[in-house]
Amino acid sequence: MALFALMLTGSCQEKTSTPKILEEKPSLFPDYCGVTIPPNIAPLHFQLDHPAERVRAQVKDRQGNTLTTTAKEVIGFKSAPWKKMLLENMDDSLFVTLQAKYKDSGWVEYAPFTLYISAVPVDNYLVYRLIAPGYEVFSKMGIYQRNLTSFKETPILENTLVPGNCMNCHSFPSNSPEDMSLHIRGALGGTIIKKGYQTEMINTKADGIEGNCVYPYWHPSGEYIVYSVNQTVQVFHAIQDKRVEVVDLASDVVVYHPGRKEIITSPLLQTEDFETFPSFSPDGKTLYFSSSKFQKIPENYQEVRYNLCSISFDPESGTFGNRVDTLIDAASMGKSISFAKPSPNGEYIMFTLSDYGNFSIWHKEADLWMYNLKEKTMYPLTEANSPDVESYHSWSSESTWFVFSSRRMDGLYTRPFIASIDKNGNSTKPFLLPVRNPLRFYSFSFFSYNVPEFVTDKVTWNVGKVEKLLTSPKRQKVTLSN
């Protein structure tokens, strides 16, 4: 009994011992110190960069409510109290205090860091492709959807269903999961178009068009999909900092009308120059795209520089304007623009700026930039950028949140980061897509996250029907509009 009492006392002393207070903030993986997060995000799990024997975290709001947890390694929170805490503190900050017990120095307490809870929720789902960051060959891959309010990830389509085939370029109109476009490449190649509960498989190679439709963007009405038609090749670098260059031998922009199965073209978008990565404005009346002067490939691949251009589009008649405007003359700055994505509220266009070319994921210098459509000014999203690659990005439906792919963690494997745009049009500090055991998960993963796209709800479709469509030789042909 006495021994038990002694043990109990010892234990209490351990718990109540005063930790040494440090002035520095903890070094965490993922770095969640000072990030802004949506109120509906899954619990942020994290761990110290330097392993401790024991860690203790306390999340506290201004009202004094706390959420505490202890762990050997990974600090995690239960979903229900986390959500409650976030919802009660929207548009306010939470203060996280971390205590760690180290073998040599005992318990220490780091300076608290904040988590700012935005009042604007992010779209509930994130859709991405998981694929190894390879070259010409691909192994297992798939299009997956992640419920951002929890840790649940489910496949939309995996190439286990159709071995040896590649899938890419998933796209949704205005973040809606109802409609979707998805390409399959390989023996069972084609484009799957999902419109509500209807799914069809089409061959987008129309007579008179030099190739299949590639990079898609839906018209906000859901009546059209704009695609670029690219003849792409890969070349490979010899030096350490560079690996791959993906370049177009030719590229044009076309618009597809799924209802009529027609391709609409304009001579202004089918020039000798390279036109690629198209997108529609939120009102559907303007088509943005990247355009570069023609260059001989591969000799002059470093001279290919894309400007941000636009052309008007009439959704009623499905016709284009008669003039192409250059919004940003990036070529004259010795830069190149890709992935121009207008914000759903029509205020901004976010794009990737690199030194040349359009496949910015292989360009370490690639950064995210913003174009203010009202003031016609461009500026870097400094808080979101890193010394490594920032490339593909997309907006959440309410124009506050955006997700982007970055190779900042190890220089090769692309990871999705989420950030918000503040009232001045600047980015808040981005946070890595939360997972249960982040360090272990990301360090064991052989996959890159490709083309992250927000959708407001879960994408549902009949995989059995998709399998039948894929394995059937039938592909609906599209025709060129007169």
Binding site: Y135, T160, F236, H237, Q240, G411, S443, F444
Partner: protein
Amino acid sequence: MNKLFKTLRWLLPCLFVPAIFLFFGCLYPHHLHYHEQFQLFLTTPEYFFEMILRPGGMADYLGTFITQFFLFSRVGALLMALFLGGMYVLLRAISQRIMTSKASIALSFIPPFFYWILLCNENFLPGGIIAILLPLVFWLLSLIIKNNKKQMLFVFILTPILYWFAGGSVILFTLGYAITQRKYIFRGVAALLLTVALFLLAKVLLSQFPLPRLIYGADYFRFPASYPPAVWILWLLCLIIPSVSALLTRLLKTPVRETIAAVLLSLAVFIPGTYMLAVNTNLQKEEIMAYDHYVRMQQWDKAIQRADKKMPTSPLSVACLNLSLCKSGKMSDYMFWYYQNGPEGLIPTFTRDFTLPMITGEIYYHLGFINTSQRFAFEAMESLPNYWKSGRALKRLAETNLINREYKVAQKYLHILEHTLFYKAWAKRTSEYLGNEELIASHKEWNTLRKYRSKTDFLDSEQEKDMMLGILLQQDLSHYMAYEYLLAYCLLTKDLDRFMQYFLLGSELRYARLPYSYQEALLYLWSLSHDNPIQTVPYPISDHIKRNLLSYQNTYVNALRPEEALKKNHANTYWYYLHFRK
């Protein structure tokens, strides 16, 4: 007669199991290495759960666990012998449980023999044995249970579990149970219906797999989109052999007849079986795999010794031999002593598969084309049709990233390799090099490759390998491998103008004497434009080669069929290659 049967009973397994061991250990060891390099067994729970998420996944998990031991071919051969022997033991025990039969002793060897023959094809995976053994074990256990109800319960409870563990081969268990239920046909039918229901349920739960894949279950074959009928035949054999045994016992009513039948059946199984094994054994592939293994392990002398015994002819084997010769400092002297099949036998052209890039990547690695080597390792791994990863490729990726100072990516791969059984120690040692420039500078291989790799950017070109080699050499004229490969490329493409042009770049390498193949090429070139080349040649050509050329010229001019005539004494010269090899 009974004595003869007793002899057969111990003699057959005693011949069978060691024969498998000897086959894989001595004749086919590099097929085992081949299997090992195209998989990556991780000791992490994540790997376990990823593997067992679909029917047959546990068999695949155990299969990859076993296959990792194939790094040591003798251990691999022993495991193969034990598992195939185990298949025989189980089938024999099942047959005996159904009805004691002497005559059928040899029949139980048919399925393991059949799988052994299948394994002669490098794309049939050893893990498939596990998927067969599991239902056989449970079938035997069900037969041990005497109580009918308990047996039924055992079957109905175990069927879903076994399906998840072994995949479609669960049919051996349920159909095996069904055929023994003569009094309770309904139970047998119910067991079968349950199996079919499980297949359909799996398709509902795992909609991202095609139904045949879920029925097949485990990875018997490297290409998951293919469903070789051989696997269905194997299942059928495992199923019918115990029944045939029972039938034989009924037909052969006397012990004498049974023993005679046993002897005849043994001959009927083992003679055609051995013949089929011989027919299906592909020693040409084994040769390529052997050269690949020597290159992987940097056993250059072994590769050369093998070539001395039997000249390799396939481009991949020759490419490995040339690399071994070059690494041993013998290429420029002796490459034409061996069969050469053009530039493809020096640096094979990239193809989208998992074998060739792995081998060619080795050549690029040792030449100092670190990015190309990295790309080839990555592509080889990603080309694996069953979507597995490769320990060998991952190791190379870690090395190339380390050499390229991409320490975070290298760390990722090393971290993964630290969770393996046989790459762990290497990964731990290599982790110490991460970011430690001094330590890397003390590493002979990596430091040399850092020195040799390209400092200026250019784009890889399969069509202009000589240009790539030339760029590498121009950056460091002491890079003897780049020099020798460049000149070898010119010699093999018979582009002697370029050979002359590049030959002069070798002045920094300070050869003690001119390598033989260069002497032959130079003398030949000189002879084309000079009347008395032997006397006037300005290069230090040995008297032996001068005499050789005269002899060669004499035969070439005078013989009716010079190719045949020169083969005996001059097949090992560059001149013979130049004139007669396509």
